[in-house]
Symmetry: C2
Subunit: 460 residues, 2 copies
């Protein structure tokens, strides 16, 4: 019995049409990363477990894929651990490596390891897959690509301004008009927690606040109460629930609430500067909106945080996110290196472009000319012609076997080939070949000794 093949849950095969579309997005992101002065790096798919564990919270640790040690892995487990039969104690004894969970922690590790070779400030981009043992659902996979751009070693808020422009540039190039870049600042969140006296409950507070859209004001209040945040504190935070209007209006309200929090006011001032500069420089198709409910899960952020929402009407989680982190390299021994970065969610951007029908038609053509195969002799002559076309930069092919002409034409149709070349016995004897334009149906004859005539016509 042959095996019935399948692929692991949460992973995907990509067909030619899908790879081409994904590549279209990646190339657009890459082009803009380079226009903005970022340089590429790549890190290994798996890291030492110690590099990854403890960096993403307890939940994150659980979602990290661990790689079984090679060879006689059991022999390295002590008897006590083995007889405990406890998966949590056993796992670290039989695995030393793990698949990367994101690109930020490996980047921090890279920066620390290569600090003597790197010219700071260092603007790097990285486009690679990451893996999470998460429950798969729409737009969430166990293997997916992240496309990250980060600057480390520069405190200036102009970095934040540039990253917002970069988001706008990529989405404009992709013709994905109407994206919203949400911005907030962790310092503002700390300030709020300070003012309402729920400092130690900051994470709970922001997680609850983040749900305002989903569960409404009452839901958020209830969740805050459940988490032990006092009625008084919640009352002080109340103006936040109704915060709306222009960025300037929101900033004014926030300034009022935060007047006694030094860190909060610092956050406000940062936001004012960033938003002011972006307004002056202008965005092409995105808009920048202050969103005080934006918190972002990762706890390494310390300043500005971003998240990008798809155009209104498209049901999709954020298609990008990022922020400022002041001490990510500290865990690996390099202090006082501030970083700020953004990430593009390739898979979700793909789904949005697909839904809005924004992939350009022309990328679906992957072959310029197909030469039909009429048999061994004709095939050989065709191969020579095809070689000539390829040398001139045309994507050309000889149909691989001399099957029925109808089948070959069907193949040409399905691959959307614009030109089909007919080089049968008769043409061969006359030293000619016939080209059929698949759009118009027109046929034209060329001399086999002068294929450049056809090539020139195609290129013009």
């Amino acid at each position: 019995m042959p095996q019935k093949p399948s692929i692991p849950k949460g992973t995907r095969d990509f067909s030619p049409a899908e790879v081409i579309k994904r590549d279209y997005i990646i190339q657009m992101i890459k082009k803009n990363f380079e226009l903005y002065g970022f340089q590429p790096i790549e890190t290994p798919s798996f890291e030492n477990s110690s590099t990854l564990l403890g960096k993403y919270g307890e939940e994150g640790d659980r979602l990290i894929f661990k790689i079984l040690n090679s060879g006689d892995f059991i022999s390295k487990v002590d008897d006590v651990t083995y007889s405990s039969k406890n998966s949590n104690s056993l796992a670290p004894k039989i695995t030393e490596k793990a698949l990367r969970y994101d690109l930020t922690v490996p980047f921090a590790r890279y920066v620390v390891m290569n600090q003597n070779e790197i010219d700071f400030p260092f603007k790097r981009y990285q486009i690679q897959p990451v893996w999470r043992a998460d429950r798969p659902q729409k737009g969430r996979f166990r293997e997916f690509y992240q496309c990250d751009a980060d600057v480390v070693g520069a405190n200036s808020l102009l970095q934040e301004v540039e990253l917002i422009q970069l988001y706008d540039a990529v989405f404009s190039d992709l013709k994905l008009n109407g994206t919203t870049i949400k911005i907030n600042n962790r310092k503002v969140l700390y300030g709020i927690a300070e003012v309402i006296g729920a400092k130690r409950l900051l994470v709970d507070f922001t997680v609850a606040l983040d749900k305002l859209d989903k569960i409404g004001e009452d839901g958020v209040r209830q969740e805050m109460l459940n988490k032990g945040i006092s009625e008084t504190a919640i009352a002080k935070a109340a103006p936040l629930f109704g915060l709306s209007g222009s960025n300037a209006n929101q900033l004014a309200v926030l300034k009022d609430i935060l007047q006694e929090s030094e860190i909060g006011l610092q956050g406000i001032s940062e936001l004012e500067e960033i938003i002011g500069d972006v307004d002056k420089l202008g965005l092409t198709t995105s808009s920048l909106r202050l969103d005080v409910t934006l918190a972002r899960g990762l706890n390494y952020y310390t300043g500005a945080i971003f998240e990008v929402a798809a155009p209104e009407g498209v049901q999709m989680g954020s298609i990008g996110g990022g922020g400022r982190y002041d001490d990510l390299t500290g865990i690996f021994g390099l202090k006082d290196v501030s970083g700020v970065g953004i990430s593009f969610g390739l898979d979700r951007i793909y789904l949005v472009l697909e839904e809005l029908n924004l992939f350009p038609q022309e990328i679906s053509v992957s072959l310029d000319a197909l030469c039909l195969n009429f048999g061994e002799n004709e095939g050989r002559a065709a191969l020579k012609l095809v070689a000539e076309l390829r040398k001139n930069g045309l994507r050309a092919d000889l149909y691989p076997s001399p099957t029925k002409v109808q089948k070959q034409f069907k193949y040409a149709d399905r691959r959307k080939v614009p030109y089909v070349i007919l080089l049968g016995d008769k043409e061969l004897q006359e030293g000619k070949f016939v080209v059929k334009n698949m759009t118009t149906g027109d046929q034209k004859t060329y001399s086999l000794s002068e294929p450049e005539t056809f090539i020139q016509e195609l290129n013009s």
Copy 2:
């Protein structure tokens, strides 16, 4: 104490300069794959273990990286297995997924799973990393890229001819002149085994024969004897040890040895056809050489086999390899689909190009213009100018912080930026900016309101 970071044995970080060079090779390979009509697919990094295990021999199974099941993985192990404390019995109970070992088996799995959507013959290419728990050494890593092109569903030997041309096209584009494409045919090897009566010992025979270059004729004889191949059989094979000269000469000798082996003669006839066609079409910088000692380890090959050697004088294992396999999809339930493919060894090609100094100079420039940062106000104005340059397709950047000018110039030097822009307080007041050509040292002044003058000069 902060962690001292490191990366797993046999893996690598790639710096910007390295990524750019790797990408140069990949783009050249990809361009030619597409010119030859191949379409891209991608498969997941990990497969179900059952898809991979048993496909690469016992040694291969040992080298496959297995992924520990998530959650309470121990609870799924039965008591008998657990108390055996045997790594080999335990591994399959606690791992269900494994990192792919090559791209060929996942491709076969893909073809079978998508057989109803695929238009056969199917020409696919795939450029992705693979992982092997091999002992690392020069040019051998635990994570490395394979670049594969395969045709499935076409028996015609013209495929082999095209693949040889494809090798030649890629290496010629890379200016890597003087590569040797070695060719042999598994049928010839079967034929030899048949003639010398060592049919069941074919693998041992070919493995020993393959070492002719390394251990010499006596070594090979000894190894064959050790493996149980008789003196008589080895004597019959003796003409093979001295086989040399032109492809035509070698074919003549082989034909003589194999006159009583039907399969052997079929192999000869295939070789004659392929070599004849390639000779007629011609190669640009590679040469095609019959090498009867070429066996290749993987046992799914059934017809032509290839291996590419770097130019003479470069110490490096094969930089590419491939062959015809008649029933790879059979293991997954799809019979009678013949395939043939080749692979490019990215890492080794990289090392060869590096050794021969063949990477083009221009790819090391990753930024066209760097604007120095003289402070907050100047920085803001510069950001506007930089945005304008980027919109016109120039890779431009503002130095991220207003540090010492000397440090900024040093950065420009190290990044090999051809143009440095000076926009200080004085220039800002005069509405101007100064561009310094870093090659000639010349400086030129432009108006801030007309950056297009500079852009035009740069593009011309």
